[in-house]
Amino acid sequence: MNPNIEQFARTMLHELNAKKCIVLGVFAVVSVIAMIIGNSLPKQYTSSSTILVERRDIIGPLMDGAAETTDVRDLSTIVRELAFSRRSMETILREGGWLDDDPSLVEQELLMQDIQDATKIDKSGSNLIFINYKDSDPERAYLVTRLYTDWVIQESAKAKQRESERAFEFIDKQTQEYHQKLLQAEEALKQFRTENMEALPESASEVNSRATKLSRDIEQVRLELAEAEVRATSLEAQLNGEAEITGNLTREAIIRERITELQKELDTLRLSYYDTYPDIVVLRGQIDGLMEKLASDSSNESLVYSMPEGTEEESSDSAAVFSPLYQSLRSELSKNQTLQQTLKTRLREMETILQTEIERGRRIADSEAEQTELIRDYEVNDDIYQDLLKRRERARLSMNLSKEEQGFAMKLQEPPALPLAPEGIRFIHVVAAGFVVGIGLPIGLLFLLVRFDPRIRWERRISEELALPVLAAIPLMDTAAVKRRRAASTATFWIGIAAVTGIYGTVGWLKYNGMI
């Protein structure tokens, strides 16, 4: 049967009172143990400093995002590497007095490891670094922290200096490279221009107009030649007595025939080339010329080359030969022949010249493409070069700035302080804990006793669990013996209280005066 809360509490109080001396004894023992433990705790002093990190990369802003700097390593890792570097640790060992005992190299290594283990380097946010060092000697804690801090700041300033120098060198090299490239491009362009003297932008159209004019002239000549040939034919016919030849050979027809021919040629060329191609331009010039002629000739009457009638009746051969008409015809014919020759020669010459012009036109087109290429090359290099010049100046400026430490990588935000009080669990904490445990432990044990002790403490157990009638419950009597015992117990208890208070007081006083 479980007692109710009230019964339980009353029983607890009774037990507590009955066993108060034991409770006090346990309390005293626990307190003393706590005092001993608290006293022998190694005192730890912590000194810490804070470093503010201003700019972490140099190249980035100078290259304006062109070179991506990724924060691959944690900031605190970098600082840790600096702080725990060999030279730094050696300095600390020396200044901290660890080398006074002249330890072996192995011992030195172990000492360094110990010091590193007692050091905490953490970052807070993205800009602050904390350096923390714990030692049993407050002055040494302060000293080591200061050494760490100074070292880190110094080294990072140097590192920054180196970095900005490297950055400058890099940009300088790039600038020089591009300068070379620029010179080369300039050279190539000059070379090209020298080789192609006539490769001037204007000559393309000059060539075209010349070619056009030539082609028109050629057509003119051809026309005259054709005219002469026809005339020759008719003259021959007349001479031979073939008077029937009446051909309605109009000039117009000749022109139209030629136009058709040229058109065919043009169409063929158009399949392969653009309209700006010199051959095509020439052809069109020719066609246009002919069309003009056609238009101007249409106002004139068509000249009909017809043989005068009656000549077919000419029979006599030799008689006719020597007629004045025949003579004049003959001389005309020979003139005509001469004319034809002249025209043919002229035509040939002109065609040759035209070909030359066309050739030239083609060459110009080709070289223009090349020239554009070279110019573009030059301009691009020039742009980059100008840009690099600007950047180089900026890099130079940055390098000079960091030389004078106007711009800095790390700045001391809070200097280390000499710790006045030890860290962590101190004597007072342990004693307070001991006090609490000293009270709690016996009460806890008593609780367990009352809760779990099988011995009967409540009347109801007998009546209910054991089913025995309880005639009466006799309360504890205040007999003389009981009174005596109680008095003795109380006296002991209060003596005990006095003793414990005395112990606490003495220890507190000793602690306060720093005697233990």
């Binding site: 009774h14 099988p454 011995r455 054991l466 025995l468 009638p469 419950a473 006799i474 504890l476 009597m477």
Partner: protein, 235 residues
């Protein structure tokens, strides 16, 4: 008159003892008197026990045993007898049968030269009146154990049943309370209980496990077991 309590008791004692013609002793122990509240409660408790015993209607022989040593059986038996004696016109006799740990004589501050053992073992059986003593309480008499020899068994003595008979003959109206050994001595307890009309078990606070009480229960005849007195209960 401003006489101290003890003197008043002594006066009663003397008058009783003189009437009975018995030796007189003064007690050093406190008996229940109604001076304090606490003791008032105790007094009421014993009165309750007394009335329940009486209501039961058994013989006038009551045995008081305990489930563990020093549970206060002697205390209960003596004070129960006192309670009976305090009734006007009643008499009570407390008999110490706890030969292992005799306590009645000391409790009442009585001499132990002559007691029950003499009756049981002496070649020449003494008279009842010779072993019954007066006590500081008016109307209450006591029989101590007498000198006890460890080796001899007293309770199994054949004279024991005769003793109770003789005692009742000598004091026919008296309530007899027998202070028995603890129930560990199962045989003794059984024998003694056979002479008594009812048995009271004393269970002390915080010293007896339930199993012990169970065992005790088994030792005693269920019919005769009047009940339990829970002793030393803290307030």
């Amino acid at each position: 008159m401003n006489m101290p309590k003890e003197d008043i008791a002594k006066r009663d004692l003397v008058s009783t003892a003189q009437e009975a013609g018995l030796p007189v002793h003064v007690t050093g122990r406190d008996l229940i008197n109604r001076q304090t509240d606490r003791n008032e409660k105790v007094f009421q408790a014993f009165r309750d026990i007394r009335s329940q015993i009486v209501r039961r209607g058994g013989t006038k022989l009551t045995m008081v045993s305990s489930v563990v040593d020093s549970a206060g059986a002697t205390f209960v038996s003596v004070n129960l007898a006192t309670t009976f004696a305090m009734q006007v016109g009643s008499q009570a006799i407390v008999v110490d049968c706890n030969f292992g740990e005799p306590g009645v004589g000391e409790f009442l501050g009585l001499e132990n030269e002559v007691g029950l053992s003499d009756y049981l073992l002496e070649a020449e059986k003494p008279a009842i009146r010779d072993i019954v003593q007066a006590t500081p309480v008016r109307g209450m008499l006591a029989v101590t154990t007498g000198t006890v020899d460890d080796l001899t068994e007293h309770i199994t003595s054949p004279r024991l049943p005769g003793f109770f008979v003789d005692l009742q003959d000598a004091f026919p109206s008296a309530h007899i309370i027998v202070d028995a050994p603890c129930t560990k001595m199962a045989a003794d307890v059984r024998i003694l209980s056979s002479y008594c009309g009812q048995v009271i078990l004393v269970v002390p606070y915080g010293r007896a496990t339930a199993s012990r009480v169970e065992d005790a229960k088994k030792t005693i005849d269920g019919e005769k077991l009047a009940g339990v007195v829970f002793n030393q209960q803290p307030g």
